[in-house]
Point group: C2
Chain length 401, copies 2
Amino acid sequence: MKSSNISILGSTGSIGRNTLKVVEHLGGINVKALAAGSNADELYSQVKKFRPELVSCIDDASASKLEALFSSNGASSTDLPRILVGDEGLNEVATFEGVDTVVSATVGAVGFVPTLKAIEKGRRIALANKETLVIAGELMTRAAAENSAELLPVDSEHNALHQCLRGESPKEVRRLILTASGGPFRTKSLEEIRNATVEEALDHPTWDMGDKISIDSATLMNKGLEVIEAHWLFGFDGDRIGVVVHPQSVVHSMVEYVDGSIIAQLGVTDMRHAIQYALTYPERLVNCLPPLDFTEVSKLTFEEPDLERFPNLKLAFDALERGGTVPAVLNASNEVAVQAFLDGKIPLHSIAAINKLLIENHIPEQIESLETVLAADAEARAIAADQVRAVLKAAAPSNSV
Amino acid sequence: MKSSNISILGSTGSIGRNTLKVVEHLGGINVKALAAGSNADELYSQVKKFRPELVSCIDDASASKLEALFSSNGASSTDLPRILVGDEGLNEVATFEGVDTVVSATVGAVGFVPTLKAIEKGRRIALANKETLVIAGELMTRAAAENSAELLPVDSEHNALHQCLRGESPKEVRRLILTASGGPFRTKSLEEIRNATVEEALDHPTWDMGDKISIDSATLMNKGLEVIEAHWLFGFDGDRIGVVVHPQSVVHSMVEYVDGSIIAQLGVTDMRHAIQYALTYPERLVNCLPPLDFTEVSKLTFEEPDLERFPNLKLAFDALERGGTVPAVLNASNEVAVQAFLDGKIPLHSIAAINKLLIENHIPEQIESLETVLAADAEARAIAADQVRAVLKAAAPSNSV
């Protein structure tokens, strides 16, 4: 059933902004609540345009800035939505009364708790925050089943898989095939990847995305996290999930069936497609994107991923196989390491080195509750931070872990 | 529901032989009746192996040869199936008692009447004979609806479309996109095509098929007939059916939805895939083909079809738009002209020239009954034969119509 009343966790990020573009295009959807990142100016524009009843800011400073923007533009207090901050705000936005669909688009582990709360309310979840499934897919999917909450993937790959599985029987699936653009370092040598700058790593060839996910794309960790996400969304083990590098990003993913048939979903590389699909499913509505032009596509290529140059992908399969808290540890370690890379503290290849060390030394626990996950997450973050310091200490910029 | 008892119209052709390979692989399917072409030796092997109760030969000579093969191999009369010949035999095979699925795989218009009779019996039709839909799609689909007969396309493109439409709503389809290999003359000049030999025209780059369909692939008439077939199978007009040249024949066809999403079916180029799909639908069963290997695929290309070098494709869209008996006339003309080309009587480009002349001079009639179609078909064959003679008379091999 098409969404009528939505809230967005992460409204000022790229998924959040694109969701609002889709809402504008579709019409007839009320934006009831927004939880934003630190971009108060963007949030201010969103509030003015979409008139949500509730807004959550990342911290008090952002909230003050938002209020200041309203008063400096002569708004009376009745124009202002209710404003909350931090985790409390995220949870309120996630569970806001009257909302049928929650777009979960925060970056990283912060989205986990509010998304779980939304699931417990039986909301449809348009899920762009892959970490929520990576760190606690078991809790998430169990809660979704118990509360009849629909999980609709917004990631273009999983959205494609969702489309390729329509009208089919899961038991007739041989394997899911996630496509990967290969990122900016697909054709680069190991040495070139070691010396990559932040700018080079952020320069994704086909998708325009946030910083964290761009770095994850450059190291193929993004694809690794997607493999784990696919496991939880669709219920297949790692040996039934494959990855194919497809630099043009035209085929967004595929499903191979037991009869050898492969169903693929193709489209333009614009996340508004997947967002709209998640908001309107099972209907397909006309969207505002240009159609895929086959005279422009002209050539699609495919190659195997190179696990030596991109060890993060292998680590993700390992983490999925070991199960329990291992994927949560991998995710936490990776978040810390990616931030350290973005801050210029460690070289690119140290991300995988830190991740590897973290998961190899982690003794997995079964995930019985949220607390297990959060403890593993916190512990991994602390150890990863130590590792970042160790890399810094080892000093000269060309040194490795 | 998976087929249990089948009969085959055209068992010694390439679709027929591959159907029997699929039957052998799947197990548990009884071959109740076979109607064959002129290859009595092949039919003899099939009868020995699959023990049908009824066999139909193309003519008395073939029937005598089949009987002789049995007696020379010491078979007693009780080993022999019932043997019929010609149209009567085809009709008996098509309507044989206890059969749930009829594989309609004769070449050309001869399959029309028996396939219609099978539809009237409510049989599932695994349809490889595209002419049946081209010449009288209206009668065929109306009869199928009235008799709850399922039409399952065996043509790889339509089978792909059938797969791409699973779980989707027809009203959300923007257009069907048939892929075309482009045939052996895809990169050839108009002049080279004019001077093409029969051998060159039969040399299809990706599919191993019968002579008639190979020539139709070389002229793109095959794709044109498929456009008309797709119209009848799926109910979309010509302006919602596109053709894209895709030389690797890995993407068998695609459906573009109103939200810009394109669902494609990919697989190895072996017709056993589509045959098995038609026999086991809605189930997908493990088949005997190697999976598609993406490291071998490596590159897929797409280009617009060139209607100047391949005028037959344009003629098919024109015939579909004009409707009524025009597609039947195009099909009949094309059958006569292709045979004349195969017999060395006319050059390749005369096929389209004759087809064009035929449909331009035909005054379309509404198709009210089988008789209308058969009359248009017969008249078109006579005029096309005259045109072949005219080309022959104009004499020198390099002359054109």
